[in-house]
């Protein structure tokens, strides 16, 4: 018995070493950092312990801007992308021909490099000295005037960011929803058809309740994912997000840690913990709402 105990832990050892150094220790350390005031990265010294880091972060205009951007992004993209994904998967589920092909096509954005494709979006929307960009040309033909989506007004930039985020997250949601739809027991539909139930009623009374746990799972992960938005914004607006006014909370954390405004791990830790608290709260709210509305 003694020997097999030892052997078990021996097999686990590599995993534990990595987890200990790169997950458990940092997790404790981030809280320590966030309470150390005036931490100096070079000399690794600090003045005292307290809540000053949190207060600094919460009063930083860049942070508040980042929070606002993130919230707008979350509130716009999560409902739209989930709704759109539901619509597309229901359509995919009801057609027979080309279904495999279309599923593959819809999944394509998932495997692409966020940074690389973001640049394609930038070019589509960007206004340069030579051309107004394709999107603006389309706008013009419908009688609108050109807008600089990348360096122009705030709402235009936000629109591009939301649009790109939705494009990036759709594949995952469509994939999950189509497999959920495919797993709904066909007997329910047959019974409903015998009773002469209308299509709309079948959808709201059978399909939606049956896949509600999946929808709910997508909403939770959608919220969490959208709160962590960062590389999409970098792809569109470049690394200096603060000056573009398009920073996100995660972006703020990284900027504090490294880069032109970096070198403040304490502020970064405080901001990361604020982010974690926000995400945790929203997830708890989501869970409570779901208890009432999800049919298992």
């Amino acid at each position: 018995m003694k020997k097999s105990n030892l052997k078990g832990w021996l097999y686990l050892l590599p995993a534990f070493v990595f987890i200990g150094i790169f997950m458990i220790y940092p997790l404790i350390d981030v809280f320590v950092y966030s309470f150390e005031e005036g931490y100096n990265f070079a000399s690794q010294t600090f003045f005292g312990k307290g809540l000053y880091n949190f207060s600094y972060v919460l009063h930083d205009t860049f942070f508040l801007q980042a929070v606002r951007n993130t919230f707008i992004l979350v509130l716009i993209t999560v409902p739209i992308s989930t709704g759109l994904a539901l619509l597309i998967s229901v359509c995919l589920n009801s057609i027979k021909v080309l279904r495999d092909f279309l599923q593959t096509v819809y999944f394509l954005p998932y495997v692409t490099n966020t940074l690389a494709v973001g640049m394609v979006f930038m070019i589509l929307f960007k206004k340069t000295a030579y051309t107004d960009g394709l999107v603006n040309v389309i706008l013009n033909t419908f009688g609108g005037s050109s807008i600089d989506f990348i360096e122009g007004p705030y709402w235009a930039k936000m629109f591009v960011l939301c649009f790109y985020t939705i494009w990036i997250v759709l594949p995952f949601k469509i994939l999950i929803l189509t497999s959920a739809l495919a797993s709904v027991n066909k007997n329910y539909y047959d019974a409903a058809r015998v009773d002469g139930t209308t299509r709309g009623r079948i959808f709201t009374k059978i399909t939606l309740p049956m896949i509600s746990p999946t929808i709910f799972y997508l909403i939770i992960t959608g919220f969490i994912g959208a709160f962590k938005a960062y590389s999409d914004a970098v792809a569109l607006f470049g690394t200096d997000l603060n000056s573009a006014g398009m920073n996100t909370i995660v972006g703020y954390v990284y900027d504090m840690l490294y880069g032109n405004s970096g070198g403040y791990p304490s502020y970064a830790s405080a901001a990361a913990i604020v982010l974690f608290a926000i995400v945790l709260t929203i997830t708890c709210i989501n869970l409570m709402v779901s208890k009432k509305n999800v049919h298992y």
Binding site: L115, V120, V169, K228, V253, Y258
Partner: protein
């Protein structure tokens, strides 16, 4: 809507510089495709170097991760030892911790170890993945006990059993995990950005960003698009080959990033 950006990226990448900038209204097709942009992408900036770096990074962290999680998954799925359940619960709990919380200290750790701008610094923190460990453990546990006992009776050592029996049986899952990890590594951006500021260690994501901000001169968009195509292509090819596996793996519950 989904395909259009891809079409546009390939289209722009074969337009010549002069032609692209001559179009006040962008054309939806081109009559004189050119591959000069691809040549530019690999000669005027270090795209080739970024590729090599990304390949080293991807292969090394995927290989290391597979070794680590195969041993751990075997311990959790097959061996009996004190504290196993506690350890497993701890692992699952850690799955909820967002990367953003731990990345700050990891950055400090790697800096203190003087591993900035080294491959080790890039690779080490991404070696462990609890999610993939969990997937593999579930799969190992499905293999019937009889096989293990039979092997024991024959006097097979655990480690021989693991690599001669268990790993071959679970090959489909292992392949899926490898592919998912490769995609993840190839697209990783945040950690490499923090840990490398020497161009010699840039991965493709950082390289693309670098090209956007400093390479080519800002206006040579066709060459930039050629670089984008070159970066995206390997993954799209992998995806088209392993389509079924990837989609099954992802729908079992992974999120991006």
């Amino acid at each position: 809507m989904v395909l259009f950006p891809f079409y546009w990226m390939i289209l722009t990448s074969v337009k010549s510089y002069a032609a692209y900038n001559g179009e006040a209204v962008p054309q939806l097709y081109t009559l004189s495709p050119t591959f000069k942009n691809y040549l530019d992408a690999f000669t005027t900036v270090n795209l080739g170097k970024y590729f090599v770096n990304s390949i080293i990074f991807t292969v090394a962290s995927t290989a290391l991760m597979m070794v680590v999680i195969i041993f751990a998954a075997f311990a959790f799925a097959r061996l009996d030892f004190k504290g196993k359940n506690v350890a497993f619960t701890l692992f699952l709990a850690l799955m909820m911790i967002p990367n953003e919380l731990v990345i700050i200290t990891n950055f400090t750790t790697i800096t203190n170890w003087n591993m900035r701008n080294t491959f080790l610094g890039l690779i080490l923190p991404s070696v462990m993945s609890i999610f993939y460990l969990y997937l593999l453990k579930e799969n190992f546990a499905q293999v019937p006990d009889e096989l293990y006992h039979a092997a024991k009776v024959d006097g097979t050592k655990d480690i021989t059993y693991l690599f001669k029996v268990l790993v071959p049986i679970c090959r489909p899952t292992i392949v899926t995990i490898i592919i998912l990890k490769v995609i993840e590594c190839w697209n990783s951006y945040v950690w490499p950005r923090l840990i490398t500021d020497d161009e010699a260690y840039y991965l493709v994501s950082n390289g693309i960003q670098e090209i956007r901000e400093h390479g080519f001169g800002r206006e040579n968009i066709p060459a930039m698009m050629a670089a984008v195509v070159a970066v995206s292509l390997p993954l799209i090819v992998i995806f088209l080959i392993f389509r079924k596996k990837i989609m099954a793996g992802v729908s079992r519950g992974g999120t991006k990033g």
